[in-house]
Structure formats: structure tokens, C-alpha cells
Amino acid sequence: MQHILEQNKVMLRKRIFVLSLPLILTAFLSTGQERHIKQTFDIKKSAIMLPKEYAFKEFNWMFGFSFAKVPFDWVETSLQAPLFYLHANYGLPYNIVLNAEWQTLIVSNQFRLGAKWTHEIGNFSFGVGYDQNFMFGKMGFLGFDNRFKGWTSIPNVSVGLKIGNVALSAVGEFPAITSLKRTAGEIDTYSSKNVFIGPSVNFYVEQRLYKHHILVVGLKNSYTKFFFPAWMAFSTFNRRYYVPELFLGFKL
């Protein structure tokens, strides 16, 4: 009994340490940043998540990975797998930027295409956009014979701030599933009811890694009823769950 209590105390101490570590680091680094050597590099030109004004035909892209914590109520197991990302932006006239994105877990996929109008005011910028998303998946092993496909509409707003050579962005998304088809063996179901699944607020930090390569670190926070990589959980909970997603991207 004493042994169990000691073990639990150790686990609690570890958690407190992990949670306070970023606070200590951030306090240290905020003075450390002052000592950085000035670079000629301009993060605004190279950033990809920042809602900046693109020149016509300006193109950039990045690849990345995200790691999501799927609610235990949905899957009831600690199953985790990284999502692979490809994201690209293409500048059009009138401050409009086309964006495309592909996310995949192999058994779950999402293609997203949209447009955003952006505007800059000094180091501050913002954007308003709309994306159309097609998701699909297939799983035919481990007791599954299932497929799904669906469409989602995602209006979004974003704000950005350039501080020195760091670009900070926040994106708010408001997705609604507009159609969903699912299959189990030879049984199909279909729904064309528009369902607002819940908002997400995503934060990104972009900074030069080396040469002109950018590292993007993001935290995506979805408060949602549906998360496409976990479609095979067939969750029936009609309430929203917090799904955090750690994102790491590289613009080469």
C-alpha cells in the first residue's frame, strides 16, 4: 500500500515538473531572444501559415506531421498514429491566395482546397477564407471492412503577427459536414444533413531553422464531434470533445 502511494506521488511530481518546465524555459528565452544576432532574413517573405499578402504567382509549400490526442471515449484505447501533411499556397491578384492541403493517415485522407483574402497592416495581418474539404478512408483489416467519404465546408479567419524573425498566427475554423457516406461490408448509409461539428482554433509559430528553411510548430485545438482520422471509431457521442493536435512543419 505504501509502495503504491509512493509510486503515485512520483507520477504526480513528474507531471508537475513537465507542466512547469515550459514556463521556466519561456521566461529564460524571452531574455535570450534579445541576444540573437540580427539576420537579414525576413520571416514574412518565407512564412507559410502567416496570413500575408502574396504576390501574383508566388508559390510556397511545406510538409509536416501532426500528432493528435483522440478522446479516449471514442476509441477506448491508446492508439496513436501521426498524420502526414502537405500544404501549398499560391498567390492570385487582389490579395487572394489559393491554398491546398493533403492530410493522410493512409486509412484516412483529406484533401482541402480553398481561397483566402488577406491584408497586412505593418507587422499585423489578417485573412478571411473558405475551404472545401473532401475526406475519405478505407480499412479492410483488424476486423474492419469499412469505407467512408464526405464533404466538409470550412469557413475560416486568421490573424498574424511578425515579431522580429518569428511569425505568429492564429486560425479559427468553423467546419460543417455537408455529406457523409459510410459502408460496413455491403451495408451503406448516407447523410446529407449539414452538421456543424465544432470550432477549432489553431496557433502556429514559424521561424528560420537554417539557411532559408522554416520550422513551423503548431497547436491545433478542435472542440469537435468528429475528427476524420478517427472515422473508424464510428463515435455516436452527440457532444463535442477537445482534440489537441501538435503540428510540426518544414518549409524547405
Partner: protein
């Protein structure tokens, strides 16, 4: 620069790794206060209860109740099952002079909405006929429903359109309730895998249950789903970690399940099911292969007891994987132990299981089910919760039972199909 990004990475990992439960699993079930008309009613006997059972058309109140409802009694509680959002209602009451009065609560199984519901069958709209035990009388229930604890004021009108077939034998299709009746995470008023949940499961229309076993440190067979003590299933406390690192005494005295119950043993669950319910089928889902040799003697004991008291109740041991199958085959005398195999049809044949339990995600598997039936075995699907798939599987599948977290919804589909 790297240090800044490192700080961002560490911060996001710290945030993302926490266990967030913004919502708890508590949902207050509203009640009529003391002094309501319900308190003046006289309970109906079984004959009168059976007269009111059947399919009802919803004339008023469709926005909540949908188009039709199923009325089904169990031990003086009238269960009302609907399709829309898995709505169900548990009401009680009886006769007051020659009118019928029923009051209770409704809940959407697929959401957190709940409220009060009140029904009256007037004298000339079936009340008198029910009192006179006229088996083919017309019945119309009129009443009101409300949201939350508010006084019900939205009108309801229900008309009996079809009674259950007169030659209905004991319901053969298995409505099997997962975790004893449902999940704690579905915000039911009692914890999963407890005797209280089994009692509730009956009113949800369940004819069978599935329960999960874990072994304590000193080899007691406990009923609990997850491998760890956690805030999902237990009250917050200093005790965490694998169930298996705690003794029986520690689990019983130091741990409380989410709604305050003591963690039950397998023996307690089977005893309660045998003595206090009409449940006919118990599926024991062993989470560890080592539990098999502890579970089988208890299972056999209760199957024997059920037979001795002429109680229709069969307990089977489940095999979700090959390790469990090997443990079953290694048990001396396993040939006499009723088993449910979740693997392939050849595996079912290998262990000579009485029941095949495929996963619903594999589809209706018509040819495999036919093969199982030709061999004199049963096929029970698990764990099907999605309403759209549930309706289709009921229409097109040939299964003998379905394991679900929403037995109320499955009961609705079953009785509607039975009455066609």
C-alpha cells in the same frame, strides 16, 4: 532561435498531453416531486399491463418523440422506446378510478437532452377498457412533455395502432446491453458494469448483458472494463494504475466507481442477475487470458444454479483473441463450457463455441451467418451503436442478437420489425 522553437514545442507537448475532460459524465434525471397525481395511482396487474403494450402512432409531440413509439413493460415500469435520437422514457403509475396515469422522465440516448413526461388514458379513450381487461380495446394516451426539470407543457397524443403478436413467445432476438447496460460515458445515472446498471438495462429492453472481467492482485475476478483505474470510470482519488496491482480488499475499500458504487465481483454480478432480473444471457468478456481459469468455475456454477431453479439464464465466456482461445482450450473440460468466439468461423468450429460473435464493422456476413446457423450455433454482433447502421442491420441481417450501448434504440427496431 532554436531555443524559442524548443520552448514552443515543449509547451505544445505539455498542453497536448494532458487528459482533458471539459465535460463530466453527470446528467441530472428530472423527477416529479412528491404529491404528484402519480402517488394516488394503483399499479396495474400484468394482464392490464400487457393490454397497453404495442406500437403507438405519435399524433402530437413528433418534434420530440418521432413518428412512432414502442410500449413495453418490465417489473412495473413502462418503457417507451422511440427512434428519433434514440429517445426513450421510463414511466410508472397505474389506475386512478377509471383513468390511467403514467409519469416519469424521457431521455435522448444519443444526446444529453432529458425532461419530464406525463400520460393519461381517459376513461372513454381506453382507461375503462384497460380496467375491464378488454384485450383488443383502442387506447389513446394524451399528455405533456417538458425539458429539463421544467413543468411539462408541450402536448402529446399517442394512439395504439398495433399490439404485439398474440402468439409472441419469449422474445428470441437478443437485445444485449454492453457493459451491463451502457457506458458511464453515456451519462447514465449509474456506473457501467454494476448491478444497478443491470437493473436499468432491463428497463432499456435488454434480454442479455455483456460484462468485463479483470483480475485483482490476489486473483479475485472483478468487474471493470479499463486496464487502469482512471477518472473515466472511478471517482477522483490518489489511486491510479493497473487494476492488477491492487488486491481485492484495496479495490473494495479504496476505490469507488464513477457514481460511488463499489467495484463488484463476477460472483456478485451473476448472483444479482440470477436472483433479481429476467436477463437470459450473460456474455463474460475476459480482458486478460489469465482470468479464464478463474472465470470458468464461477460461470459453470451459475449455469448449474440457473438450471436447478428453472431459470432461463445462460452465461457464456467470450474469446476476443487467440490468447483467450488458447486459454479456453487449455482448460480441462472446456468442451462443456459454453463459449462465444469473436474470431473467424473456422475458429468457432475449432473451439466448438455455441455462439459466434463477429464485429459489426465486417458487415452482415450473410453466408457466414447461414453457415453458423446450419451448424446449430448462434450469431451475435458487437458492438453496434450507430443508428443508421443499426436500422439496416436489423432489416437485412440474420443475427440472433446484437450487443449495443443503446438497447433502447435496438428494442425499438426489434419490436417494430416483430409487429410487421
Amino acid at each position: 532561435m532554436i531555443r524559442t522553437l524548443l520552448a514552443a514545442v515543449v509547451l505544445t507537448i505539455a498542453v497536448a498531453s494532458c487528459d482533458y475532460m471539459f465535460d463530466d459524465y453527470i446528467l441530472d434525471i428530472p423527477e416529479f416531486g412528491p404529491g404528484s397525481i402519480h402517488d394516488q395511482t394503483h399499479p396495474l396487474n400484468v394482464t392490464k399491463q400487457l393490454i397497453t403494450e404495442g406500437i403507438y402512432e405519435v399524433k402530437q409531440g413528433k418534434e420530440l418523440l418521432g413518428d412512432s413509439l414502442v410500449f413495453r413493460w418490465n417489473r412495473n415500469i413502462l418503457s417507451i422506446f422511440g427512434k428519433r435520437m434514440g429517445i426513450y422514457s421510463l414511466v410508472s403509475g397505474g389506475s386512478l378510478d377509471s383513468i390511467m396515469v403514467m409519469q416519469g422522465y424521457w431521455r435522448e440516448a444519443l444526446s444529453d437532452n432529458t425532461g419530464l413526461l406525463s400520460l393519461i388514458a381517459k376513461r372513454e379513450e381506453g382507461g375503462m377498457a384497460i380496467m375491464g381487461e378488454e384485450p383488443d380495446c383502442a387506447i389513446t394516451w394524451r399528455g405533456t412533455f417538458g425539458y429539463g426539470g421544467g413543468i411539462p407543457s408541450s402536448p402529446i397524443e399517442l394512439k395504439l395502432v398495433k399490439r404485439f403478436p398474440k402468439n409472441k413467445a419469449i422474445q428470441k432476438f437478443g437485445v444485449i446491453a454492453h457493459r451491463g447496460g451502457g457506458r458511464t460515458s453515456d451519462k447514465l445515472p449509474v456506473s457501467e458494469n454494476t448491478p444497478d446498471m443491470i437493473s436499468l438495462a432491463q428497463h432499456f429492453g435488454a434480454t442479455g448483458i455483456e460484462i468485463d472481467t479483470r483480475l485483482s492482485k490476489d486473483d479475485s475476478v472483478m468487474i471493470y472494463h479499463d486496464s487502469d483505474l482512471n477518472i473515466r470510470l472511478t471517482k477522483k482519488g490518489p489511486f491510479m494504475g493497473p487494476v492488477q496491482q491492487y488486491t481485492y480488499q484495496q479495490l473494495r475499500t479504496l476505490v469507488r466507481l464513477y457514481h460511488g458504487e463499489v467495484m463488484p465481483t463476477l460472483r456478485e454480478m451473476l448472483q444479482y442477475t440470477l436472483d433479481s432480473t429476467d436477463i437470459r444471457f450473460v456474455w463474460i468478456d475476459n480482458k486478460d487470458a489469465v482470468t479464464m481459469e478463474k472465470v470458468i468455475p464461477i460461470l459453470m456454477e451459475f449455469n448449474k444454479r440457473a438450471k436447478e431453479i428453472d431459470r432461463n439464464m445462460l452465461t457464456v465466456v467470450g474469446m476476443p483473441n487467440e490468447k483467450m482461445m488458447d486459454a479456453y482450450l487449455a482448460y480441462p473440460g472446456h468442451e462443456n463450457v459454453p463459449a462465444l468466439c469473436e474470431l473467424t468461423v473456422p475458429d468457432v468450429e475449432k473451439v466448438n463455441a455455441w455462439v459466434w460473435g463477429p464485429r459489426w464493422t465486417m458487415g452482415i456476413q450473410t453466408s457466414e451467418v447461414k453457415k453458423i446457423h446450419d451448424q446449430g450455433r448462434f450469431a451475435v454482433l458487437w458492438t453496434l451503436d450507430d443508428p443508421q447502421f443499426m436500422e439496416k442491420f436489423m432489416e437485412e441481417g440474420q443475427f440472433d442478437g446484437i450487443l449495443t450501448n443503446y438497447p433502447t434504440l435496438l428494442s425499438y427496431y426489434y419490436y417494430v420489425k416483430m409487429c410487421r
